[in-house]
Subunit: 334 residues, 2 copies
DNA sequence: CTGAAAGCGCTTACAG
DNA sequence: CTGAAAGCGCTTACAG
């Protein structure tokens, strides 16, 4: 492969001149610039990324730590990964995607060896073991998901409390008095998925204020447990007129169950959920829902990270930003 | 950050000795080894990846080129990405995941700049624009999916022809004489997704040999077109007793349609498909199907690539390997 | 407007 | 068993 030295030789200039022509960091006479450019074309020169990284202390790579749980519904993850990858590329960064089970170890590996300029953590838990090593790393980090201790990190998440209140308000406004509430699988809570209880607690509190009856249930993640669980819940609560589902797997499995029972939406039951537009389209979900905006969250995380990587001083104090929930009315309530 | 020089100083040895202690490429007296190790622990030293890459010409990174199409069903992609990432890590490699729209350009960028030691291409088309630049790159490449010209590349794919024949044989053996065949969306064919016609053509040919009636249709990718299309097909072919579905989106949308029409499987209609176990579980598909084994394919691609990256000479001639299809009987035929 | 040189942090022949 | 030195391919002060 051609090096910067080959280009310099072919163009009859020094290596530094080629480097400056590449970076534009000093003025080059148009004559030499042209000689350099044709030499580059001729030799098909592309700067070696490792050498550049060594010289500049910048890799132009962002580490993306993805976490998969067997008992979690997977298709949702891609909705975060893609926008993050796109946003990174737009800012000139590539993505090193790490899916190792041992997140803290993987994180230390890529930060200590300076493989990346910054890190995005996905699917962050309340007491996420990746957070302390990220905080200790010399690279900045941005999180998608709210941990207990956010100090020193940029954090982005949906406002799950507000989302729950909006849904309860919506149903209350329509006159519903008895509401089924389906939460994520209890493993999500055990694992510290704070969004689970942030949503549920807010819903319960709001319902209590209105004097509504609310029937909380944990959800399942796999068939046939999903359908069985839905059937059992509906059997137990024949007087409920509305249902709030905060569980991707459960709401994806809901249509056939309602269909089989002859329950019409919204005539017999009002149903609301919280999922992304893409997810709803994927599973053809006809339900009014809070949009979870994975693309907004991912992009916001990358933006903040890029800012901090490129100009650590001007980036200011770390932020915790909640995306405001928006209700998409699909006509499944009344 | 501590460098190898700091460690050397702290341990009272030369930098080369530290390096050799790290790599184990020459014998070190246990005494010096211990001094070095405690110095490493003390300073928290991790070798700089960029410097190492520069010195060794090895990045220990694999480029993974993912391609997303808006009219394609996305959840399937993750099933390939994850096993590839896992297999790479087991072999000591990290994954640089590239999702850019301009695949050829992205490919040149990461190979020309030596960011990666090798490349895996996912979702390969018949005349895939990424293949020529990959062939031109100095790094080896492995493909998941069969292109027209496989020269110089390791290629892994399911044997879609054999898969189609197995399904036709299966239905023929049960006495079916009229079969509906649902293919991927026609865009998949336009785009050069060879698996579409490899499967379809083999099915048609096999059916012709048996003298079976086969009714071929293209599928849709989005609701409500999916349901409408299924309904229309079933309306058109009331005499068909079996259905072969080679389309993730269509088969995921099939259960509610059959349910609504009161069609019982397998009593009224035998249904077979071709999808992965994970996919089937995700959508609770109760259909006998050919297992597409994305994990096997991904892992095989990584293995071949690692072999070629680590020992280009002994790796031998490039291979085109078809994974043998396996039928998973879920009792949806008779 | 341009060049010679030092330096980024490693590895690995060469030497002893 | 260990060290001094060259080299990987860049960037960037320093100098003119």
């Amino acid at each position: 492969m051609a090096t910067i030295g080959d280009v310099a030789k072919a163009a009859g200039v020094s290596r530094s001149t080629v480097s400056y022509a590449l970076s534009g960091k000093r003025t080059i006479s148009s004559e030499t610039r042209e000689r350099i450019e044709s030499a580059i074309d001729l030799l098909g020169f592309t700067p070696n990324a490792g050498a550049r990284a060594l010289a500049t202390s910048q890799t132009m790579v962002i580490g993306l730590l993805v976490q998969f749980f067997r008992d979690e519904f997977s298709p949702a993850m891609l909705q975060y990964v893609l926008p993050i990858s796109d946003a990174a590329r737009e800012a000139g960064y590539d993505i090193l995607m790490v899916t190792e089970d041992d997140g803290p170890k993987a994180l230390r590996r890529i930060t200590d060896s300076d493989m990346v300029d910054g890190v995005v953590l996905l699917n962050v838990a309340h007491e996420d073991e990746r957070v302390p090593p990220l905080r200790a790393a010399r690279q900045p980090g941005a999180l998608v998901g709210l941990p207990k201790d956010t100090e020193g990190l940029d954090v982005f998440d949906l406002d799950f409390g507000e989302a729950a209140r909006m849904l309860v308000d919506h149903l209350h406004g329509l006159g519903h008095r008895e509401i089924i509430l389906i939460s994520p699988h209890e493993h999500v809570i055990t694992r510290g998925g704070a969004y689970a209880w942030r949503f549920r607690d807010a819903a319960l509190e709001r319902a209590a204020r209105y004097g509504l009856r609310i029937y909380p249930y944990d959800g399942e993640t796999q068939q046939p447990a999903i359908s069985e669980s839905l059937d059992s819940i509906l059997d137990q609560r024949p007087t409920a007129t509305a249902m709030i589902v905060h569980n991707d797997a459960m709401i994806a499995g809901l249509p056939p169950v309602l269909n089989a029972r002859g329950v019409r939406v919204p005539d017999d039951l009002s149903v609301v959920g919280i999922f992304s537009e893409d997810f709803g389209r994927l599973f053809s979900l006809p339900y009014t829902a809070i949009e979870t905006s994975p693309d907004k969250l991912g992009r916001a995380a990358v933006q903040a990270l890029v800012q901090r990587m490129q100009d650590p001083d001007s980036a200011g104090a770390p932020v915790v930003r909640f995306i405001a929930p928006e209700l998409t009315d699909r006509g499944s309530t009344r």
